[in-house]
Every structure is written in C-alpha cells, then in structure tokens.
C-alpha cells in the first residue's frame, strides 16, 4: 500500500510534524475553555493544511495522516518517558480498566510499554499496528481509518478489535 508510510519517511518527517503539532497544541491550550474538548482529527487536519503548502514529500492527505499518526506516537511516547511514565507502569489491572477516568490517567503511564508492544505487533502484523496508530494515536474514526488504509469499514472494525485484544494481552491485561 503506497499510503502506508515507511519507517524512514516517518523518522525524517517526524520533526516537521512534531513542531507543527506542538505549536497547534500550545495555541489550543491558550484558548481552551471549560467543557470544550479537542477534536483530535481537527488537530491533524489543521497540521496537514499548514504543512501542505510547505512542499513536504507526501503524496496526499492519506499519506500525511499515516505519517502524522506515527509521529504522534513517537512524540507522545517520548513525552511520557520524559515524565517518568515507565517508573509508574506496572500492568493493567481489571479494576481500573472499568473506570474511564482511571484509564485516561493510566494510558499516559503505559505509553512506553504500549510503544514496545506496538513494535512487536509490527513484526507480527504491520497492518494491525497501522490501525492502532490511526485510531488511538491520531484519533481517526473507523470510517476515516478505512479511507486512509483503503479497507472496508467492517474490516477495519474487526481488525481494530483484534489489535486491541492483542495489545491488551501484551500489556498484562489478564493480571
């Protein structure tokens, strides 16, 4: 698939995307109002519009979204590592998994471990890893993910379920 970025592309473009996303995120934080939540895809879209004119070497928006999703994973994992997430991470436990708020707090802590699991998943089935990048790290819907990967929404939905189950096991979800 031409629109799935290679590792080299993503590594080379990550700083560009990173800089833009950081700027957009900081700007967003300044105008944040209570009750308003960030639309993840809006952030990606805005970054794309801003970078589209810059002559960056992606073919189309699909290509960009793939790179952006992978860059976001890199950025977020680095940030979580810098904040000492690894030290706090033990394993998922079933009690906190049922509590949405606790999950949100835990996910940041588990990012480095998730990233390592993602590398293993890439070895097993790279397509599943791409779906996780797009869904979880770039915030794309099933339909948007299907469009970006040129798959049917039903296939994406089932493979997304498989990827989640796989990662859930890798992260010690049976603890």
């Amino acid at each position: 698939m031409a629109d799935v970025p290679s590792r080299l592309d993503a590594d080379a473009l990550a700083p560009l995307v990173y800089h833009e996303l950081r700027r957009l995120a900081a700007a967003y934080m300044k105008r944040e109002r209570p009750g308003q939540t960030l639309q993840a895809t809006a952030l990606v879209h805005e970054a794309y519009l801003r970078l589209a004119d810059a002559g960056a070497p992606w073919h189309d928006k699909r290509h960009f979204v793939g790179i952006a999703a992978r860059s976001m994973r890199q950025i977020l994992v680095e940030r979580a590592r810098a904040r000492g997430a690894q030290k706090r991470w033990a394993a998922l436990d079933r009690v906190t998994l049922t509590d949405a708020l606790a999950v949100a707090a835990q996910e940041e802590a588990m990012l480095p471990a998730l990233d390592e699991a993602m590398e293993r998943l890439e070895q097993v089935d790279a397509e599943l890893a791409r779906i996780v990048d797009l869904r979880f790290f770039a915030g794309l819907s099933i339909e948007e993910t299907a469009d970006a990967m040129r798959l049917s929404p039903a296939t994406v939905k089932r493979r997304w379920a498989l990827a989640r189950a796989w990662l859930h096991r890798e992260l010690g979800g049976d603890a």
Partner: protein, 467 residues
C-alpha cells in the same frame, strides 16, 4: 508461530468476533481442531477482546495538548530576548530555566508560565499586576523580579538567578538545633517582613520556595505569584467531584483560612512560616509530629504562636516575629553551659601538661620522661580538639555536627589515654610526692568523667541527642 499460522489466527478471529461468546469458542475449536497452537491463540485473543473494556477506546491524541503544552525548551532555544541554557525545574506554574538575557548580558531564572494558567485575559492582567508588585521588592532576602515578558503568546517572568539549595534540600540532613534554627528563622522573618511592610503577601511560602545561597544567605522565591496558580473555589469543587483535579497550591503549608478560600493577609504567611520553621527545627511536619517533637526556648514559643488556628491569635505580620526573636538571648543557657564545659576540659588538660612537666623534674628516670612526652602530646591534642569544637560552634555552626562526628572517636581515645597516663604518673610519684600524686589522680578522674559522663549530657542538652 509461522506467518501462515498468524494469518489463520487473524482470519478465525475476524470470523468469530461477531459471534456469541460460547458459540464463538465452540466454532473456533471446531475450525482449528487440526492446529492447537492456532486454536489456543484465537481463544486467548477472543477472551481478551471480551475483557478489553475501555482499553484504547479514547484516542490519546485528545489529551495531547496537555502532554505537549508543557514541552520544555531545549538548550540554546531563543525565547524573546532570552537564550535558554538549561531547565532548573518545573512546578504548578510552569517551567523554570536558567537563561541569558541577551539585552543586558546577565543570567536570569526564566519562569515560563503554563499556557493553561494564562489563557484567560483577566488572569493575565492579574499576573501582570502581581509581577509589578513583586518587582518592587528589593530586599536581599527576596529573589528580585526583573521583568515580565510576553513572548509569542507565552508569559515569562525573568528574575534573579539564585545559586544554592532549597530549604527542603537543607532539611534533608535532619533536624536543626535551636541556635541554627533561630538564626534561619530570623533571616526568613526579616525578609518576609520587608514584603509585608509593602502590603505584599507571599501566599505559598514553603521549603521549596526558600533558597540558601552558597554564601549562606536566605532568599525567598516567587513572591506574590502564588495567587495566580491558586484554583478558584468552583474549580476545587469540580476537582473534588471528578477526582481528577490536583490542588495547585501546597495545602501542607496553607493557613486554615487559606484552605477555606477566605481572603488572606500577612497572617497566612505567618502560619506558613510557623510550619516551615517547625519542620526545619524538628525534621518533621507539625501535623505528623508527636509530643516529643517540641522546639525549646523562644523559637518554640514563636512557632507555636504562628501556628494558631485563628489568625487574630498569631503575630500580625513577620515584623512582629522578628521583634519576638530579637528579644531572645543570642544563645540559650544550654549552649553556654556546653561552651563552659568544653573550656573547662581544655583547662584540665593545661593543668595536666604543667603537672607532667613537674613530674619529669621530680623523678629523672626514663619512664617519666616518656610519660611526660606522651602526656604532653595527649594534652595538646585534647585541648586543641576542644578549642576546635568551640570555634566551630561560634563561627561555623552549620558544620558543628559534622565536625563532632568526625572527631568524636579520636577525642574519646585521647581523653582515655590521657586519663590512664595521669593515673600511671600518680602511681610513679606516689612514694616521693604524695600531694601531686593525688592531684594527678584527681585530674585523671576529672578528664575521664568529663569525657564519658558530662560531655554527652551537655551536648544533648545544647544540640539534641547525638546523631
């Protein structure tokens, strides 16, 4: 597992996932009966699928602004007129960098405020006002604010860079004796008083906000800025409801009225001062202290009054604390006793040296010459060590504990050695000079008792139990 098996796992999972739990398991068991590895893998994944709950269901990117917005500046980054050298730390208000102000060529501490704190224009205005007020403070005990800059929509406060350690780090070495604690309290209160005289309240005084410079002076950081970081009552209630919010201030050092979000004045700082000094003197926060953790003398009375629940019962401002501390004697009686004891022991050694000289004159046998030399050396060592302790106590108090620990064993040894020599000399001359022999016995007893009994007692009274 081979790639072919992996593909089979995926296909079976995808076909089973929409089926009912037990039906799916039975179907998979039938389909993959020929390959137990594949069958077990699919069943395990189906099991995890059924238990995954919310796992990964909220895109992480929705929380990314919070993750990204506190991205630190790297070394060499240019922020307005400042060039970042390194990050010094981060707190509720944002990050603090060591930076160079290119306009004036001076080093500053640059506090870049967290975007969430300065989003609201009214809050920005309040911050500007506070920074202006803080910039008016020019006491040597208060970190000077140089400038408030608005750079690319971010607010940054440049202030004097204080090179040293925080009081929190200084506390890490354990409790401090009353004399040292009183000196620290006086410096801290004097700096606070100069701000209170201008009507400026710190509001977030805590050990992390007080620095000890390399040359031993105290500096209070972040004057008047705490109010910005303080959540409003509504935010606090919301945080209590959702359990996600974290108190931005430092409740452990806040006065009761401040915790209730009432209007605070200098007496809130007086309360925080009391908590800080209690912790400094006792090594433990007053709420976690037991009855045994009491500060003796005037400082104890001052701290107790600072910690009163009702503001009206505390000191009106830090200036009153300075007055109260100034009325206290420079050193408590226990420390004066300790000094007297040390000088008395040095005196005993001088007498022993004189006696040894006489003994040598009285009996010209090789043994007494050797004994004189040894006793002379021991007396000199014992006397000099006592002098060293008294000097350290008077001139470099913070080193006293360490110096005593370093030399305590040697001192004990010298004391016992000198006592034994004096005793032996007494025996040697007992037949020719009865009276000096008794004097030698008395000196031996005096030095040994002073070392083994009196010294631990006076030291414990003056500086607390031996550590």
């Amino acid at each position: 597992m081979t790639p072919a098996q992996q593909r089979r796992v995926r296909d079976l999972f995808e076909q089973a996932v929409d089926r009912d739990g037990s039906a799916a398991a039975a179907w998979v068991a039938g389909e993959a009966a020929d390959d137990p590895l594949v069958r077990d893998e699919v069943l395990a994944l189906l099991d995890h699928h059924s238990r995954a709950g919310n796992f990964l269901s909220h895109p992480i990117v929705e929380r990314m602004p919070a993750l990204l917005a506190d991205e630190p500046y790297a070394r060499g980054a240019v922020v307005g007129p400042y060039v970042i050298e390194r990050e010094l730390g981060r707190g509720g208000m944002g990050r603090v960098y060591l930076a160079r102000d290119e306009r004036l060529g001076r080093t500053v501490a640059l506090k870049v405020l967290a975007p969430a704190l300065v989003g609201d224009p009214s809050q920005r205005e309040r911050l500007r006002r506070e920074a202006r007020a803080a910039a008016a403070l020019t006491h040597p005990g208060i970190c000077t604010v140089y400038a408030l800059d608005e750079i690319d929509g971010e607010l940054a406060i440049a202030s004097e860079f204080v090179d040293g350690i925080t009081l929190r780090e200084e506390m890490g070495s354990g409790p401090h004796d009353p004399v040292e604690a009183t000196a620290t309290a006086r410096d801290l209160a004097a700096a606070l008083a100069s701000a209170h005289a201008r009507g400026i309240v710190h509001r977030d005084l805590k050990p992390e906000n007080v620095m000890r410079t390399r040359d031993g002076r105290l500096k209070i950081l972040d004057f008047g800025l705490a109010q910005i970081a303080q959540p409003t009552g509504a935010e606090l209630r919301a945080a209590a409801l959702t359990r996600t919010g974290v108190l931005l201030g430092t409740p452990a050092y806040m006065a009761p009225e401040q915790l209730r979000h009432e209007l605070v004045d200098a007496r809130a700082d007086v309360f925080a001062f009391g908590v800080v000094m209690y912790e400094y003197a006792c090594g433990v926060h007053p709420l976690r202290a037991d009855r045994a953790d009491a500060i003796p003398g005037t400082l104890g009375e001052v701290v107790a009054r600072c910690l009163r629940e009702v503001p009206a019962e505390r000191f009106g401002s830090a200036a009153d604390i300075v007055d109260a501390l100034d009325r206290a004697p420079a050193a408590p009686a226990s420390v004066r006793w300790w000094r007297t004891h040390q000088l008395a022991v040095a005196g005993l050694y001088a007498a022993a040296a004189v006696l040894a000289w006489q003994i040598k004159e009285w009996r010209e046998v090789p043994l007494t010459v050797a004994s004189f030399l040894a006793l002379g050396a021991a007396s000199t060592a014992g006397g000099v060590l006592r002098g060293h302790w008294v000097f350290t106590e008077r001139m470099n108090r913070r080193r006293l504990d360490a110096e005593r620990r370093r030399t305590r064993a040697a001192t004990r040894l010298v004391d016992l050695f000198a006592g034994a020599l004096l005793f032996a000399d007494g025996v040697l001359i007992a037949s020719v000079r009865a009276l000096p022999a008794v004097a030698a016995f008395a000196l031996a007893l005096g030095i040994v008792l002073a070392a083994l009994v009196l010294e631990p007692a006076t030291t414990a009274a003056a500086f607390g139990e031996e550590r």
